[in-house]
């Protein structure tokens, strides 16, 4: 039974169920009702009332001096209780102006930069400590991280590089065949895979796989106070959580890059023999003579830098979590976006440097 309200002469008659499920359309009706002409309220037909109904009742009659008749004692008590509660006026959150927003954003960015710099400093100190007394290194988490960031990433890194090799060879094939320069597919695949795509692709995969995992792990541990517990036991989170990740990634990312290089060239080789008729032996011969060792070294040399970026950003964002589960998700997103961004920026800087020294 829905709640009802009607005006008969000078009486306001209320009836039905004044409950949360019954008052749905009462709200609109109340707004248009001319209550000022009435002198009394007849409420004996109200069958049920809960706090929502009591509030509406109270709100409707607020400011009108009316005699109320027939309200059941239980309901009257409820109305009285609701009326007596102290509900502070709703405070509008004041919206910020454009300039203020820009300023806040700039300030946040600056403070994040400062935090990042001091974190890098802490990591560097801890790393020097660890290198000077290697006995203090925690090997168990290092092994654990080696497996998770390295070995477990082999299938996906291999598959993607293999496909990338195929794509490059396939895209190049048409252009090269037009000039009869089929054999140059070796240079195309070899150089682009070894110098650029191998390291970059692997770094992006690892940032998505392991960087996000680092952030999620550390931020969850921080939210559940595990990081604080570690400190009180006398274990430095830096030694237990951060260094093993950085060391492990410094080892695995170059290795993964080598693996990705091999798989990528393999993909290119297969596509070259299919599409351009370059036999495997020709491909390997040409590869040995036209691709210099420096191309490979340049590529693999970038990997440790990428590894440091991914691990440091991942851990840093993990420690910046604030309070809640929501924040864990936000930090993880930030970590992946930032580390991929920084990896690509670093790659661009490398390109400039290498072209200056003519490698």
């Amino acid at each position: 039974m829905q709640a009802r309200i009607e005006i008969v002469g000078s009486e306001i008659r209320m009836a039905g169920e004044w409950t949360i499920s019954g008052v749905a359309d009462l709200e609109g009706k109340l707004a248009g009702l001319p209550l000022s002409g009435a002198t009394s309220v007849v409420a004996q037909d109200i069958e049920a009332m809960d706090t929502a109904g009591a509030w509406l009742f109270h709100r409707a009659l607020q400011g009108h001096a009316l005699g109320i008749a027939g309200l059941k004692p239980g309901h009257a008590a409820l109305v009285e209780m609701v009326a007596s509660l102290d509900l502070a006026e709703r405070t509008e959150l004041q919206s910020r102006g454009f300039l203020e927003k820009v300023g806040m954003m700039g300030w946040r960015l600056l403070s994040q930069l400062e935090g990042m710099l001091s974190f890098i400093g802490e990591v560097a100190i801890a790393l020097v400590h660890a290198i000077t007394n290697p006995g203090r290194l925690r090997w168990k988490p290092i092994w654990h991280n080696l497996q998770h960031t390295g070995f477990d990433a082999l299938p996906i890194a291999g598959l993607l590089s293999f496909l990338m090799g195929i794509v490059i060879a396939y895209q190049g094939a048409e252009q090269l065949a037009r000039y009869g320069a089929n054999i140059f597919v070796v240079n195309l695949v070899g150089l682009s895979m070894l110098r650029e795509l191998g390291p970059l692709l692997t770094a992006i995969i690892v940032a998505g796989r392991s960087g996000s995992a680092f952030t999620a792990q550390i931020s969850t541990m921080k939210v559940t106070e595990e990081v604080d517990a570690m400190r009180t036991i006398g274990i430095s989170p830096m030694d237990q959580l951060v260094l093993p990740k950085i060391i492990a990634l410094l080892i695995t990312l170059p290795l993964l890059t080598v693996y990705a290089d091999i798989m990528g060239v393999l993909g290119g080789m297969i596509m070259a023999s299919f599409d351009l008729g370059v036999s495997y032996t020709d491909f390997i011969d040409r590869f040995g003579s036209s691709i210099r060792l420096s191309a490979f070294l340049v590529g693999v040399g970038k990997a440790p830098v990428f590894a440091a970026i991914i691990a440091v950003v991942g851990c840093f964002q993990g420690f910046r979590v604030e309070g809640s589960a929501d924040s864990v998700g936000r930090q993880t997103t930030k970590s992946v976006v930032q580390s991929i961004f920084l990896v690509i920026v670093a790659d661009a800087i490398f390109s400039v440097i290498f072209s200056l020294v003519q490698l």
């Binding site: 706090t51 929502a52 102290d86």
Partner: protein, 258 residues
């Protein structure tokens, strides 16, 4: 105080080989504050979760408002849940919403009321739960433990349920806040005509607030009745529970007040 609002009969639950409930039967009357006590791990919280259809028992029947709830379809389960409120042990407030939004969420989902009215009704519940108005715009991680429990209670009250389940409402609170919570439960019972099922370890809460108490242990209901009756039980587990040093202090205090 005559009609049973919740009947549990022959309920059995087990996880793997561990038997949690072995043919448990309970009856909870309209308008009473019913407490479920027992040592940790005896399946008190599991019982609540089963009533709220968050977990499935192996066999048995649970009747709420005279209707069998086990095996309800999704729509019927929703309908049933709207009539109940549940306060979780750790609050389970949504961390991305502030207190007002947390409390208003059930209203927003299940009623066609305007934003303004929802906000007002949510404010009523927040005030009812004993939170200051200044807490309304705070996020759960900015609240103290006691305030979080009160906010969780306010959310459980949002839809004006007839039946309210409280899981360990005073666990982790300081004695002062816990006393405040006892008062709050009594106040709500008086003013809103609620039936409450409370899972608790808190002896003060059991003595001062509960109308009847069921004591679970070894998968059975070892004793049921008022605290007076239970404290005279001869079962060794119950005696140990109520006559340990803590139990005695709470009991003496309750005697003095009577």
């Amino acid at each position: 105080m005559s009609e049973a609002i919740l009947e549990i009969s022959d309920l059995c639950t087990s996880f793997g080989n561990a038997v949690i409930h072995d043919h448990i039967s309970l009856e909870i009357m309209r308008g009473e504050v019913f407490a479920i006590a027992g040592s940790s791990g005896c399946g008190k919280s599991t019982l609540l979760r089963e009533i709220m259809l968050l977990q499935k028992p192996v066999s048995g029947s649970i009747r709420v408002f005279g209707r069998e709830v086990l095996g309800l379809g999704d729509m019927e389960a929703l309908d049933f849940r709207k009539g109940c409120g549940m306060m979780f042990e750790r609050g389970a407030l949504f961390s991305s919403l502030n207190v007002l939004e947390n409390v208003g969420l059930p209203l927003q989902e299940h009623t066609a009321l305007s934003e303004e009215l929802i906000e007002e009704i949510a404010s009523i519940k927040i005030a009812l739960a004993g939170l200051p108005a200044s807490a309304k715009f705070k996020y759960p991680d900015e609240l103290s433990g006691g305030m979080r429990k009160r906010a969780a209670l306010a959310r459980a009250l949002a839809l004006d349920p007839e039946l309210l389940f409280l899981d360990e409402p005073t666990a982790g609170l300081d004695p002062l806040s816990a006393n405040g919570f006892d008062e709050l439960v009594l106040h709500l019972k008086r003013s809103l005509d609620l039936t409450m099922v409370i899972v608790t370890h808190d002896l003060d809460l059991l003595w001062h607030v509960a109308d009847r108490v069921a004591f679970l242990g070894d998968g059975h209901v070892l004793g049921m009745g008022t605290m007076m009756e239970l404290s005279e039980s001869s079962h060794p587990l119950i005696r140990e529970y109520f006559y340990g040093p803590r139990g005695r202090a709470a009991r003496e205090q309750a005697w003095k007040q009577k």
